[in-house]
């Protein structure tokens, strides 16, 4: 198999990546792989590969080269985050939401927390999490064509959403 980049050398590096559910394969020769920043001597972590991918996609859009997004709280820049594959502070999750949401989806196949909630979090967080869990169940029941169960879940979700609304209204009344 010839290298897909130079079309001359034999491809010895075969990368397979799954991006948003579609499998992409890339066959390169050693020289072209190195040119594309694939370092064969250091182990590649999923984070690096996915972040690198994000970097490539960003570089094609003109606005990205002009402006390096940074976190307003800790001043970490997007470039820095990609280099280190670690975030600067909790606020970075909002600052870099764009790339992070596709990154976390690719890593975890999900974008919604379902586990433990700290006791210090208020009722609103608790109910929001409950809604997310029920929505997951709802999807599953629709796939299984259990429409009665689905209808039940839908009503429960509606009721919970209303209680979140009333909590929000309560908060605004207080202030």
């Amino acid at each position: 198999m010839k290298c897909e980049s130079c079309q001359k050398e034999e491809a010895t590096i075969h990368l397979t990546q799954v991006i948003d559910g579609t499998v992409k394969k890339l066959n390169l020769c050693q020289v072209c792989a190195q040119k594309n920043g694939i370092d064969l001597n250091s182990p590649i972590s999923i984070t690096d590969v996915l972040l690198g991918l994000g970097a490539q996609m960003q570089s094609t859009s003109p606005s990205a080269t002009e402006f390096d997004l940074s976190c307003s709280r800790c001043q970490m820049t997007r470039t820095e985050f990609k280099k280190r594959a670690r975030l600067g502070c909790p606020e970075c999750y909002n600052a870099f939401m764009g790339e992070l949401s596709s990154l976390t989806k690719a890593m975890h196949h999900s974008g919604q927390h379902m586990g433990k909630i700290p006791a210090r979090q208020g009722n609103k967080t608790r109910i929001t999490a409950q809604i997310a869990a029920l929505q997951k169940e709802l999807k599953a029941s629709i796939i299984k064509e259990q429409y009665e169960v689905a209808a039940n879940l839908r009503d429960k979700i509606k009721a919970l959403k209303e209680s979140v609304q009333s909590l929000e209204n309560g908060e605004s009344n207080d202030t």
Binding site: C74, C89, T104, H108, S110, M114, K116, R120, Q121
Partner: protein, 354 residues
């Protein structure tokens, strides 16, 4: 309690556990961060010290007494011992002031401060017992959270320095001894298969270490979108399947190559009883063979627990602590061989008296 007291014994998580043959231990790790500070790598020195002080004061207020090692005041040998005992990571060992670990007296709980995340709770249990490990970690988490406000988002869960831990912040893992599958050359396809279902396989001392002594750590990769109990159940189910594969491999080995295995075990016995120099990787492999011989009832002079304890006791830093001086690699090999010979002599004596 000091490290000198610790090196002569084993952590409680090495006691005999359920499904003991191929299973060594179960582990739960939780990553947590305090809302108001930058993550440890990005935080200022002052902030790191503040995080350390705040964590320390929570531990001081607890009923149970924890042993504390600050990385700034701990010698490199002691750091290595903590690492060999699975109480800290390599990443924490190279850190200094403001970073450290709190360890429960039985070594089942260890809480690293300012490693990759502000707080890393680790809970170890003997055998296949992820649920008990989770329970202990969960309780410790609640105790810490009663004093500290965690970085948390309703959508992404516990916010961590690396997005690969976001959500539950939980890594569950089981340490397995799989000599049967290695001897039958069935481990590679299994590692491939496991990585396709969202689990990872690592060596005995975690990330980046090779599987010495046929020891493997299986852990979850996915931390977001599943509840803790779902992650644990899934891992446990796969581990139970692996144990069955391992036991099948052992049966096939005994059917087809019983004499070869017996010879293997007898040779390990011979080398461990007589060798004058043994490297740590050779020792791990010999001990692994001995452990297999024990599981297959070929030998009965010692318990699995004794062998599992040796896996750690023969490590470089442990040997140097016992000898109370720095040893060059060749000197360590001599001390190691002596330790192993003493152990074997003692075991055979015990056997004679029975």
């Amino acid at each position: 309690m000091t490290l000198d007291d610790m090196v002569g014994r084993h952590g409680s998580w090495l006691e005999a556990g359920t499904n003991e043959g191929p299973v060594i231990s179960s582990r739960i790790r939780l990553a947590r961060n305090i809302e108001e500070y930058s993550f440890s790598d990005w935080a200022s020195e002052d902030d790191k010290l503040l995080i350390w002080e705040r964590a320390s004061s929570v531990f001081e207020s607890m009923e149970d007494s924890f042993i504390c090692w600050g990385m700034g005041e701990t010698s490199s040998l002691d750091k290595e011992i903590l690492f060999e005992r699975h109480l800290i990571s390599q990443e924490l060992a190279i850190k200094e002031k403001g970073c450290g670990v709190f360890v429960s007296p039985n070594e089942c709980l260890s809480i690293m401060i300012n490693e990759e995340d502000h707080i890393r709770i680790q809970s170890l249990q003997p055998g296949l017992n992820l649920k008990a490990a989770w329970l202990a970690a969960d309780q410790m988490d609640d105790q810490l959270e009663s004093e500290l406000t965690y970085a948390f988002s309703p959508k992404l869960g516990y916010l961590t320095s690396c997005p690969s831990n976001v959500g539950t912040g939980m890594r569950a893992s089981v340490m397995l001894h799989l000599p049967g599958l290695v001897l039958m050359e069935e481990m590679d396809p299994i590692i491939n298969g496991i990585s396709k279902i969202g689990l990872a396989v690592r060596g005995m001392w975690g990330e980046g270490t090779e599987a010495a002594g046929n020891m493997f750590q299986i852990s979850n990769q996915i931390t977001l979108g599943r509840r803790e109990d779902e992650i644990i159940d899934h891992l446990e189910q796969i581990v139970l399947e692996l144990i069955e594969h391992e036991n099948n491999a052992r049966i096939r080995l005994m059917n087809d190559r019983a004499l070869v295995i017996e010879d293997h075990v007898a040779r390990a016995f011979g080398v461990l009883s007589n060798a004058r120099m043994v490297t740590s990787s050779e020792a791990l492999n010999l001990l692994s063979t001995l452990r297999l011989g024990l599981d297959l009832d070929m030998i009965n002079q010692f318990s699995r627990k004794e062998i599992d304890t040796l896996f750690i006791a023969i490590q470089p830093a442990h040997l140097q602590k016992l000898e109370n001086k720095d040893l060059k690699p060749e000197e360590r090999d001599i001390v190691r061989a002596e330790m192993l010979r003493n152990f074997m002599d003692h075991a055979t004596e015990n056997d004679g008296s029975d």
